[in-house]
């Protein structure tokens, strides 16, 4: 990819479809009003991220907390499949891209001061890279930091390639 190519002009963080590295480029289409309003209302961290809590829409289980950037929010709202920004891999992370444990978006909400999102989702299988339904499987309970949930899937089978924790 040639970054001097006008087709890759830098305006927003996104993945290049050709070379799979992060770059900044012109969004292909204008944002719809809901997406534009949401992006405008977010109080971004200095590195352009916002925390996102994922909650199973019907049972209320809090599944995980991860981060989104502008591109992740755009993709999530456009596709209905939840996409985060992985800080450890420094790229977009389509939840379930390796494990198959995808999150379908039901609704994306924003808090009062704009620094946290709540994604109501329909989680297939395990949200956690340990194979547990929820990442919050440790609790201060009975005087110890107790493990309060067991895996529902084998991580070795879920991640036969390379998807890991954010």
């Amino acid at each position: 990819m040639n970054e001097n190519d006008p087709a890759h002009e830098i305006t927003d963080r996104a993945l290049c479809q050709e070379c799979d590295v992060i770059l900044y480029r012109i969004p292909m289409t204008p944002d719809d009003p809901a997406t534009a309003a949401l992006l405008d209302a977010v109080a971004w961290t200095p590195t352009g991220l916002v925390a996102c809590v994922a909650q199973q829409h019907d049972t209320g289980e809090v599944l995980m907390v991860a981060w989104m950037d502008r591109a992740a929010i755009r993709e999530t709202l456009a596709t209905g499949r939840v996409c985060y920004f992985s800080r450890s891999r420094n790229r977009l992370w389509r939840k379930g891209e390796t494990s198959g444990q995808v999150q379908r978006l039901v609704e994306l909400r924003l808090d009062c001061d704009g620094d946290a999102l709540l994604a109501l989702v329909d989680q297939a299988g395990a949200a956690c890279h340990t194979g547990r339904r929820s990442c919050f499987y440790r609790a201060a309970r009975d005087g110890v930091l107790a493990v309060i949930a067991e895996p529902i899937a084998d991580p070795a089978e879920l991640y036969s390639r390379s998807e890991a924790a954010p």
Copy 2:
């Protein structure tokens, strides 16, 4: 307060009971095993904080996201009343200290990679400084960023003195 006073030796962030400013001092008592294990397992931000999601323990409502430091976690576990660290006020923030809308702790959980807490709480009244039950009252819905919940209390009455958003 005299910071050279050995009684105020710096070991941990906490509020001085005498002068109500943040300082670092020796904890009065050793941590119990659950608190020590939890503090040891947290992956702190560079400024010594960790994100905390508060969820109503019985209904599953996600109420808010705020931050805790070591002192906030210690106080929360020791007292059973949720205490955060307010980044805007740069001090401990005992939820409800002005508004009366306190959070009683039911259980404190930690996620797989240690960078997020989930506090199961019993929230009195409104968690949000706008007087709404939950801070997540805006949603990308019907093509706009919609307000999906109304206040259940008057913020002017809740905050007749000075408690505000974190």
